[in-house]
Amino acid sequence: MSIALVALLPLAGALLASLTIRSGRNVCAATAGGATALALALLLSHAPAVFAGEVVRTQIDWLPQIGLSFSFFVDGLGLFFAGLILIIGLLIILYARFYLGRQDPMGRFFAYLLLFQSAMVGVALSENVLLFLVFWELTSLSSFLLIGYWRHLPEGRQGARMALIVTGGGGLLLIAGMLMLGEIAGSYQLTEILARGEAIKAHPLYLPTLLLILAGAFTKSAQFPFHFWLPHAMAAPTPVSAYLHSATMVKAGVFLLARLWPALAGTEEWFLIVAPVGLVTMGIAAWIAIFKDDLKGLLAFSTVSHLGMMTMLLGFGTPLAAVAAVFHVLNHATFKAALFMGAGIVDHEAGTRDARRLGGLIHLMPISATLALIATASMAGIPLFNGFLSKEMMLDVAVGTTYAGLPWLIPAAATLATIFSVAYSARLAFHVYLGPARDDYPHKPHDPPVGMWLPVAVLCFLVLAIGMLPAMVAGPLVELTAQAVIGPAPLPEYKLAIWHGLTPALGLSALAVVCGGLLCWWYAPLLRFRLSLPRPEAKRLFDAAVAALVDFSRAAVAALHTESLRRYAGIIILTIVAVAAGAYLSHPYAPGGRDMLPVSLPAVVVWLVVLAACIGAAWLHADRLLALIVTSIVGLVVSLSFLQFSAPDLALTQISVEVVTTILLLLAINLLPRRSDAEPGLLPRAWSGAVAVAGGIGVALLAFAMMTRSLPASISDFHLAQSKPGGGGTNVVNVILVDFRGFDTFGEIIVLGIAALAIFALLDSALRGAAARRLDAMRQKVESGDAHPLLLVVSTRVLLPLTITVGIFIFLRGHNQPGGGFIAGLVVAVALITQYMASGYVWAASQGRIDAQSMIGGGVLVAGLTGVAAWAFDAPFLTSTFGYVTLPIVGTFELASAMAFDLGVFLAVVGTVLLALSQISRIEARAERTPVPEGPMDPALKPAPDAAPAGE
């Protein structure tokens, strides 16, 4: 548990830091530092055990189904890395407290920093590789936040984005690699994976796994060709650069290589890929570093170069090289963090980081400059400083390594890289800190407050201590760590000492110092030479690649998503036709054996009418009124067909829906354009015609195939049998609708109700804004003054009670004969609409005062409560009951709960139709410019004063 806490404490600190900032900057920094120190103490409390050879572990289940768990362990490598992260973290926090300006939000900074620290410690201590991935990606995310901390700097944003994309992308590949690794090893626990190294290396999927994992490691550690992101991450505040981009995050890749060394290293593939990548990175980055004027840029490429060196060492795959790598990680962390902080001090004090504008700082800020020179010497590999020791080991190993049959290749290249390394170190020393004092700095530099240089001093102390007494200061730690890296195999013979005798490595080292110094001496001609070389700018390539991706995506989306309904619908329908045809044709089919009905003359006539209507609609649809008339005919014919084929209920429903639809469409046409515009071109028409014909033929074939085969045994046999005894009605369709499948009907009236509410909401808003302005500007082209023709008014007044009586009739008989609540509702609604049509909306509405919305709500409520009522009898929703009641005079009649349900249906239907139609009419009234007579038959037909009043 406590190991998990090492990773989680900084996280808690992140939360606390963002909260305590209200109490002041010191409290905030103290919180951050305290959390880090606590975590460090916790970690170190396990150190004795680890040094004693134990592996401390803890495990909490997270997602055991796939083997993801919160398991942490501390072995030598973990202790080393986590310790490094926390110690440097502590120093960085101290440094940052003084580095950040008043205007910089410190709470956010420490929150991000500790979030990152937590992720890093997690990477170092995870035992579960899936958990490792979690922390790995978290480091990318938190570094994204940290690099972009200064939001006003465009470089910060770009650098952050680039870092995220490169390392995040690598992280994705790493996910794949780790999953494969786990799959091969049969476990996601590191200890088990490491124990099965031989099996892994022999597995056929070894190479792809290796490549994926290396992709993760190389992107993170900025190895060639992914080296370009790191320098751009330098837009971050210096503490961030120092922490992430020198000491910790970029080393995560190297850590990963070290961590998986027993499982993956030692093969031919490993050596052939990893070593040259490291070597090339080391050389190229060092070469670029020489010419960087920005101090942080120089240090950044230097870091890349050193990471390359570590990668190369691990890539050699030998235990000795691994020891060298471990040792160099330690050394590099100390001097490079010191250098970054030193650069920050320069920037902070002198107001610039440009080497061309700097020089002779030793005279103005002696403490800082001295410390920086110590670290620089270490970086250059000068004896007595720790950088020398690990570089010696590296050269020693390199000398013994043969690549591609050429024994000189690696030593020569490594030496060349070392020469460059000395050169940029010398440039840093001589062009910035040494030399004559200048007086043209933007600010006059002084040594900073002690809080800023103390962390550097601590690190420089380490540099010197290790450099002079390596075996004593670093020996046990290196041994422990190296042992953890190479796994169960015994450690090789090696000696941490300044003097190993006159070895080839010492010669190469000396050569490097001399040549490097000369290069620095000849900086001006070297720079000219460099400028004459082609310099592919990796950032530009990256930006171009991203821009190309964005352009491609825009082009693709613009080409695909044209927002043309014709195309969308066409593609969808074509897909449907193709899929249905494919499914149909790939399965056996036998023609059906059902007897067909004989053709009759009326049927042929009706059939011809349908065909004519179809052709007419397709041909003449531009005239919308005509299209509507043709549609009405089809509705009529469909209704007749229902009647002919034994479906009276359907015929009734279809025909009554038809008339309401017609009125609705007429209302809409009145405000819409009367004609559709001419279709553009023959080709689109031909194309949609082809789709249409394909769809039509397909449906016709399916329908024919279906109708000509006999009916399977259907659940409707039960409905026929149970309709009367179980449902209490002889109209089976109605009993199905209100009882067997009453739940469908419940949904159906809700659909209607929603439609009406949505229509109401839509049109309600048309009385405001652009729509209202358009309506106001619209002039109804009213041609006739007779708004309420007398004959129509009188006849509808007579018809209303008649129709309502018919509606009641249809409602009551529905259970036993064709009819029911739905049709009755439509009939009554139509009767009322007729009043509106004849006598005018205003007048009719004022006479009736029907609250359509309440009818809808009430209808649904009645239907629903009828269903709920069954619960009182512990019967399921919508369980119906019926009985026969006998009253004197009246006789016996049936009462069924389904009637209450049907009443709900009735109400909802009436409400829906009235609401929908009256809402549109309300909108139309807005477009009306000529005064509409308020009510029917006025003014002229109102009884003249001389005439006797009608009626009474």
């Binding site: 609609a617 405000l671 449906v699 109708m707 409707s716 004969q817």
Partner: protein, 123 residues
């Protein structure tokens, strides 16, 4: 008879598809109405064709046609009525708002025009 019905359904479907693929709202609505007729008939004839066998229980009836597809079609008719009503009003409303009766929508990738801020509505 089955042939006539099948071809009629096919013709209605084809007309419906053709009109649905037009560029303006009203033909699309008419097309959807045709498709509705077609599919309602199709669903109806899943109970096969039967003449003079309405599913109304009576002692003299010899046989009944399958009542279930009828009930399903009834539900479908009602639902499609609601849908038709809504889409008609929607077409009308969109026309009133934009003065344009075509069925295309604004592009998803072009930069939003100056001054228009699509998401900037405030409650």
């Amino acid at each position: 008879m089955e042939f006539l019905v099948a071809t009629a359904i096919g013709a209605l479907t084809a007309t419906g598809i053709y009109l649905t693929l037009r560029g303006q709202t009203f033909p699309v609505i008419v097309g959807l109405a045709f498709l509705t007729y077609a599919v309602n008939l199709f669903l109806f004839v899943t109970g096969r064709l039967a003449i003079d066998k309405p599913p109304i229980i009576s002692p003299d009836a010899a046989a009944y046609t399958d009542p279930l597809p009828q009930a399903l079609v009834l539900t479908a008719i009602v639902i499609s009525f609601g849908m038709t009503a809504l889409i008609v009003v929607l077409a009308l409303r969109a026309f009133l708002e934009t003065g344009d009766d075509t069925v295309a929508a604004p592009s998803l990738v072009e930069a939003p025009p100056e001054g228009e801020s699509p998401g900037a509505e405030r409650p």
